[in-house]
């Protein structure tokens, strides 16, 4: 009897664990752990791999954080992240165009991106206030059309910096622009801890993310932040409590757009390149998938969701190519990435009713 009782309690604690941590998160975490265990056996250097994961985390975390405000205000998952990214790209390219270098170029990139982010965010927010209930569909198209529009603009805008334009024609931006000499590694280089010959822990980037995450956490603990969460939780309740629902939603969209602009600049300083044209599209689904893997739902997200999700998602993305490629000698990384990110989004959307407003 005693024996079966212990099994029972064990089973129930396990179930509680699953419920609290979420089955998909457990599966993905387990898969990632498996990859880490297998890595040495297939000849991969574990230290290098872990550093890879940390670095990629540092590049992406701010972008993922950018989703939090809109989730809180009930605007759902921001598939329109590219709009914010576009603002960031404008800031970055303008900063280079105006001749800033080194650390000032990064600061100026943020400063220059801000008005674009505020402007685009305001318009985007006003649009989302008109189509309550269908946000995620609209955000997707806003993202796609922002990218398409900018594909034209990158060619037409009168940029002239030789580091960025096509060499022969002297006009139109190149798809990939190196930020070396500008803001390459400006954050990562701060208090950097070298581990191997060419790899290190990007302390500065992590600290920068920590700062933004702290600010976000703090904001959600203020009166306004509380109101924003209530709007997402039950808009009718918020309205009856005298909250201007539309204004809260607008604020959340602007915050989200601005953070996405900052996020892409952080990404670039780590990655080393500005990628224009259709490149922002490649960031949308991974960003959304990351926060969902982290345990966020369509109207609930926390800072731990962001951190755990980004680590898990980027872990999978970096580890699978190394391990699987050496096992089956075929490049599976892209396939895995797509399956994980799309699968995760699909899963989250089917759960939509659970957190019913």
């Amino acid at each position: 009897m005693e024996h079966s009782a212990t099994i029972d309690t064990r089973r129930s604690t396990f179930q509680v664990l699953i419920r609290r941590f979420g089955l998909p998160r457990l599966i993905i975490a387990g898969f990632l752990l498996l990859l880490f265990i297998m890595a040495p056996f297939v000849g991969a250097n574990l230290t290098v791999q872990i550093l890879n994961v940390i670095n990629r985390f540092s590049w992406n975390a701010v972008l993922v954080l950018a989703l939090v405000p809109m989730i809180h205000s009930g605007c759902g998952l921001n598939f329109g992240v590219p709009l914010g990214i576009v603002a960031g790209l404008l800031g970055g390219t303008l900063s280079i165009e105006l001749g800033f270098e080194g650390v000032p170029s990064f600061i100026m990139a943020i400063v220059l991106a801000t008005p674009f982010a505020l402007l685009l965010g305001t318009g985007y927010g006003a649009l989302l206030n008109k189509i309550k209930g269908g946000e995620m569909m609209i955000t997707t198209y806003v993202g796609l059309s922002a990218i398409s529009f900018m594909c034209m603009m990158w060619l037409l805008l009168p940029y002239s910096s030789p580091t960025m334009v096509y060499g022969l024609s002297g006009s139109g931006l190149r798809p990939t622009i190196s930020v070396e000499g500008f803001y390459d590694q400006v954050l990562a280089g701060f208090l950097e801890i070298p581990v191997t010959a060419d790899q290190s822990i990007p302390t500065g980037t992590l600290l920068f993310f920590a700062l933004l995450a702290f600010l976000m956490w703090a904001f959600l603990h203020t009166k306004t932040g509380t109101a924003m969460t209530a709007v997402g939780s039950n808009p009718s309740f918020a309205r009856a409590s005298g909250i201007n629902v539309d204004r809260m939603r607008l604020l959340s969209v602007i915050m989200s757009t601005w953070l996405a602009a900052i996020g892409i600049l952080v990404y670039q300083q780590g990655f080393g390149f500005i990628q224009l044209y259709t490149a922002p599209n490649n960031l949308t689904l991974p960003t959304v998938a990351a926060i969902l893997i982290g345990g966020a739902s369509i109207n609930k997200a926390s800072i731990p969701n962001v951190i755990i999700g980004t680590i898990l998602f980027q872990g999978i993305v970096t580890m699978t190519p190394t391990v699987l490629n050496s096992m089956i000698h075929m490049d599976m990384s892209e396939v895995i990435r797509i399956i994980v990110s799309n699968g995760m989004i699909l899963y989250a959307l089917t759960r939509k009713t659970e957190g019913l407003r």
Partner: protein
Amino acid sequence: MEKNSAPLLEMRNIKKDFFGNQVLTDINLTLREGEVLGLVGENGAGKSTLMKILFGMDVIRETGGYEGDILLNGEKVKFSTPFDALEAGIGMVHQEFSLIPGFTATENILLNREPTKTNVISQIFGSRLSTLDRKGMDRRAQDAIEKMGVKIDPHMVIGDMPVGHKQFTEIARELSKEQLKLLILDEPTAVLTEQEAEALLNSIRSMASRGISVIFITHRLHEILAVCDKVVIMRDGYVVKESPAKEIDVPEITHWMVGREVDAVAAPAEPRSHEGAKNILSVRNLWVDMPGETVRNVNLDVKEGEILGIGGLAGQGKLGIPNGIMGLYEAGGTVEFGGKSLPLNTPRACLDASLAFVSEDRRGVGLLLDESLEWNVAFSAMQIHNKFLKNIGGIIKWRDERAIHKVTEQYIEELMIKCTSSRQKARELSGGNQQKICLAKAFALQPKFLFVSEPTRGIDVGAKALVLEALRKFNRENGVTIVVISSELEELRQTCDRIAIVSGGEIAGILPATRAAEEFGMLMVSKVK
């Protein structure tokens, strides 16, 4: 009309409970062919449940079925779905329309029962591909419409029709079924104008003369007397009176509807007079566009310090009054609070003026279901009065978790809210405890004036008493003026000093709570439109 054969419909000893809550007790009904039976009773008396049983609605089976027998033409029947009931010749017209707006009247009347012609394709692939017999359809639709004795255009698209014609189309659909023997009309005149209602009554008479029996549910009592052969009055799940229509009049019906046995009623709590008190709230010419609860022209004065009840039948507009004043539905007119004009359509302005509202829509408007009790209690006070906040550096308003926790614990204790902790999600609480959280939310606002809408809807007896007691106490100890809106007259009589009755979107009258129930009953139906 009297025949010696078995009656068309006989219901014997029908009993029904919803999860132990007895809603129908020993209902006996007989209905002969061509007879019109008027079924009346207050909201919640059990009329709809009885009709749902008769019509075999799913909700009855899902909640454990019913006891007793239904006999149709002397044979015992048990319908497990509405389709069985239709098959047996019972038709029902619900309060809400179930018509396809883009189809014509004819198409709606004969939907899925269209006469068809075979064609080459249908001979090969089966009858689902037969061609519609348009001429046949027109003829049958016309027949059905004529049976009612009204004129509606069978080719008009439903979306373009006035409400009355939609209602007739619904009835025509039932009449077009050849096997129809019994038609149930659930408040068919609620949405009709005077003339349309008159036409409907005529069509009921004409149906009856063709041998179709009708069960007619309405709140307009004079209609009952005008058209019915027999009146059955229900109250609290019992049939309290059954009488031929000729031998009863409106006052007697209302008496039976609302009157309760004296010993079953708790004595009204010492109603006070506030004759000399000044008006704290004055409402003039208020209209509110709240779907299903339209307020047309309300003039109302609330005295400082009193508890005013607002009663009335469902759909007459009593719920529209608080929702309109508090800015949740579009409203017009003038509202003065404490001598100052109160802007309408802005919830914030009302809250700033120290008004508070406990909504009847607990789960939709009243609660953050997915947040903690602490948030639910403290949120409004935090947003409106900057309570439960710590000021950091004079600019940042930081949530004071400790103060929130304290106030929530205090109300949990005071209102005896059953929960595991103050951090439990509001969704997980029972209806009664959710209602107490809604009250706590309003109390935390420390208002001068409180609207409480349907405070006891859907909660058990124990919680009911507690909620009403909490309101009384809040009124007595804090001097807060309270307006309670409720469908339950008894509850108002126990709690309030004065009771205003809303009928037809207007205040039909205001009486002290001590007056007899019949007087209130008369007011309830006085202006029903």
